[in-house]
């Protein structure tokens, strides 16, 4: 099993790490990663120096190994290594990453001779450093941008252009350090790194600049700290076997990442059991690291995250991953959606941002609407007795006018009220005269709704066109008071 191979190489045989750390270790696992960094030595160096903000690297020193070690040391210093040492993955006891940085830096400054001894520790340190970075744990198998992401996450984003190159290096290391990473990792990393160096760079830039969408995608799985997520991701990518597109998709857009999420989600129940062992190890690391890295990443990770179907929720990078916080986040998103709906309903709320102000506006609007209902009912009450309710008068009046009756079916109850409502709309003289006539006029035989029908046809839609249709249907039926009273009694 490759895992054991990893372990054996990384942990149980530290002698391998000594000296040609970079040379031997990467080869069985991450040849891919190493080849490219070798080509981009200069870039690595510049990237490293920029990242670490330390003096110039020594280009002559063992190619990637130096770079790697330095990176590792740098990582170690930055990462919260204390927790890492506890993880079982990393059998090599790393005392303090910060200490490693010194030799790293010193080594770098020296120009690269004494790799072997410090290299050994540094190899360990590398692993711890990488392990410290939760991104590695999760990322390594999945995307080629592991290193870039992790480095960026660690804070120095100045080396963005070169960060992509670095990704391969750390990815290989992370694979090793993770130990529990899957077999597919090296292959994945290989493909990813080989095929998309440019994409990695761009991804890195975007990630580092924008809070790392890939980190969010892969970080999500990591940050979840759940074996499920970890196994899910692996299983999903393994199952699909599309590593290159996966990594690129991860990086390029959150939407692309979404594809794997549903898959990952689906794979979740299936793969959970299988991945428990390796995920457990990682889980600890992730949890430990995630807690420390949470604050920095949270803000970045959140905006990248597209809203999910709330049944399937993936934890974002750097966020708490227990079910409570996941549900909490889902709930918050729901509330956010509802608030947007309300914002559309309440006039003049487009510019308002902020829930409290929005709520105030909503409350004011509801109160004003209720007050309006009260006011209008009062006005209707005052008006009402004066007009002998207008339906009759209106109808009568309209009957007097010469309006063509519309052929209609009977729709008594609806017709009455809707006809009335449409009649209201008709502001023309017939209505007014009808109303004035209605004053003081008692019950009168109802004229047919013809006039109303005509009025409604002339109306622009008071409500909507279908209302008009209903009115027309109702109108024009039988004429006479009995029809009207019948409709009324039908209430």
């Amino acid at each position: 099993m490759e895992k054991e191979r990893f372990l054996s190489v990384d942990w149980q045989s530290p002698d391998m790490n000594s000296g040609a750390v970079a040379d031997q270790l990467p080869r069985p696992f991450l040849d891919l990663g190493w080849e490219q960094p070798v080509h981009h030595d200069a870039k690595f160096e510049s990237a490293i120096s920029s990242l670490v903000s330390s003096p110039s690297l020594n280009p002559s020193s063992g190619n990637g190994s130096v770079v790697v070690r330095e990176l590792v040391g740098w990582l170690g210093s930055i990462c919260d290594s204390g927790d890492i040492s506890q993880t079982s993955c990393y059998s090599t006891p790393l005392n303090s990453p910060p200490k490693l940085t010194l030799p790293v830096l010193g080594h770098r400054q020296q120009g690269g001779g004494g790799l072997p001894m410090p290299g050994n520790e540094m190899a360990d340190g590398q692993f711890t450093g990488f392990a410290a970075n939760p991104g590695f744990v999760e990322r390594a198998p999945r995307s080629s941008c592991f290193g870039a992401w992790s480095y960026g996450g660690l804070g120095d984003q100045s080396g963005l252009p070169e960060a992509g190159n670095l990704s391969r290096v750390p990815s290989s290391h992370s694979l090793k350090s993770a130990g529990a990473l899957q077999m597919g990792v090296p292959d994945n990393g290989k493909d990813a790194s080989k095929s998309n160096p440019e994409r990695i760079e761009t991804e890195m830039r975007s990630k580092l600049g924008g809070g790392m969408p890939p980190s969010s995608t892969s970080g999500r799985t990591m940050a979840s700290g759940a074996a499920n997520n970890v196994s899910k991701r692996k299983a999903a990518s393994r199952g699909r076997g599309k590593e290159a597109p996966l990594s690129s998709s991860n990086v390029n857009s959150p939407t692309a990442a979404e594809d794997e999420h549903p898959d990952a989600k689906r794979c979740k129940p299936a793969k959970t059991n299988g991945a428990d062992k390796d995920s457990v190890v990682k889980q600890e690391t992730e949890q430990n690291i995630g807690a420390s890295q949470k604050k920095g990443k949270e803000n970045n990770a959140k905006p990248q995250e597209p809203p999910k179907d709330y049944i399937h929720v993936r934890a974002r990078r750097g966020q708490a991953t227990d079910s409570h916080s996941l549900a909490e986040r889902v709930r918050r998103e729901k509330i956010g959606k509802r608030m947007k709906l309300l914002q559309d309903l309440v006039p003049g709320c487009n510019k308002i941002t902020g829930k409290a102000v929005m709520l105030d506006e909503i409350i004011n609007y509801v109160q004003s609407l209720q007050r309006q209902v009260e006011f209008l009912s009062m006005k209707l009450a005052t008006i009402n007795p004066q007009l002998d309710f207008d339906l009759e008068t209106l109808l009568q009046k309209n009957m007097h006018q010469e309006h063509e009756p519309l052929p209609q079916q009977v729709y008594p109850s609806e017709g009455t009220s809707t006809a009335f409502s449409y009649a209201q709309q008709h502001q023309g003289s017939p209505l007014q005269s009808a109303i004035t006539n209605g004053l003081g006029v008692g019950q009168q035989p109802l004229c047919p709704f013809d006039g109303l029908a005509d009025a409604t046809s002339q109306l622009g839609s008071f409500w909507e066109s279908d209302l008009q249709y209903v009115v027309r249907m109702g109108i024009g039926q039988s004429q006479g008071a009995e029809f009207f009273s019948q409709s009324l009694h039908a209430d």
């Binding site: 709930r331 729901k334 509330i335 509802r338 709906l341 309300l342 309903l345 309440v346 409290a356 709520l359 909503i362 409350i363 609007y365 509801v366 109160q367 609407l369 209720q370 309006q372 209902v373 009260e374 209008l376 009912s377 009062m378 006005k379 209707l380 009450a381 005052t382 008006i383 009402n384 007795p385 007009l387 002998d388 309710f389 207008d390 339906l391 109850s413 609806e414 009455t416 009220s417 809707t418 009335f420 409502s421 009649a423 209201q424 709309q425 008709h426 502001q427 209505l431 109303i435 109306l459 622009g460 839609s461 008071f462 409500w463 909507e464 279908d466 209302l467 209903v470 009324l488 209430d491």
Partner: protein, 150 residues
């Protein structure tokens, strides 16, 4: 009253049901108005008539919304119980202390019928529908009044 103002937003997805429900609301309200007008005499108090008209307005609102909405169900319940009992309500809906109970949320709960029984998320949803229905009702009443008074 301009007709065009009434057609805005009537076709969007959220208001698919609104067109039919507007018809329902208008017819119900007008019928109720007519009934009130018929039954009210010169002796009946102005306040009583006003109260009846207001109740008719809310009833037509709830009737148009049907039982689909929590607020309409609560409103119908309140209207019917008031019509029958005229006593203090037997048992107001159990209102568990809700999450997200800011002051504003509590105020909103008092405003929206059925508020006390909902959690915050549902409260927002019901508020949106309630606002929609309220605006429709207000427009209807304004139209009625304008046509009457013009």
């Amino acid at each position: 009253m301009e007709s065009k103002s009434y057609t805005t937003g009537s076709r969007d997805n959220a208001n698919r049901n609104l067109e039919g429900s507007k018809t329902l609301m208008a017819s119900h309200f007008l019928r109720a108005l007519f009934r009130i007008q018929q039954t009210s005499t010169t002796r009946s108090s102005f306040a009583g008539r006003r109260r009846r008209i207001r109740r008719a307005a809310y009833a037509s609102m709830a009737y148009s919304a049907g039982t689909r909405r929590a607020w309409s169900r609560a409103l119908l319940r309140k209207l019917r119980s008031r019509a029958r009992l005229r006593f203090p309500r037997r048992l107001s809906r159990a209102a568990r202390p809700q999450r997200g109970d800011t002051d504003q949320a509590q105020v909103l709960r008092k405003l929206v019928p059925g508020g006390p029984g909902m959690d915050y998320c549902k409260l927002l949803e019901e508020t949106a529908d309630y606002i929609r229905c309220l605006t429709t009702q207000v427009r209807l009443m304004q139209t009625v009044m304008d046509s009457i008074s013009s």
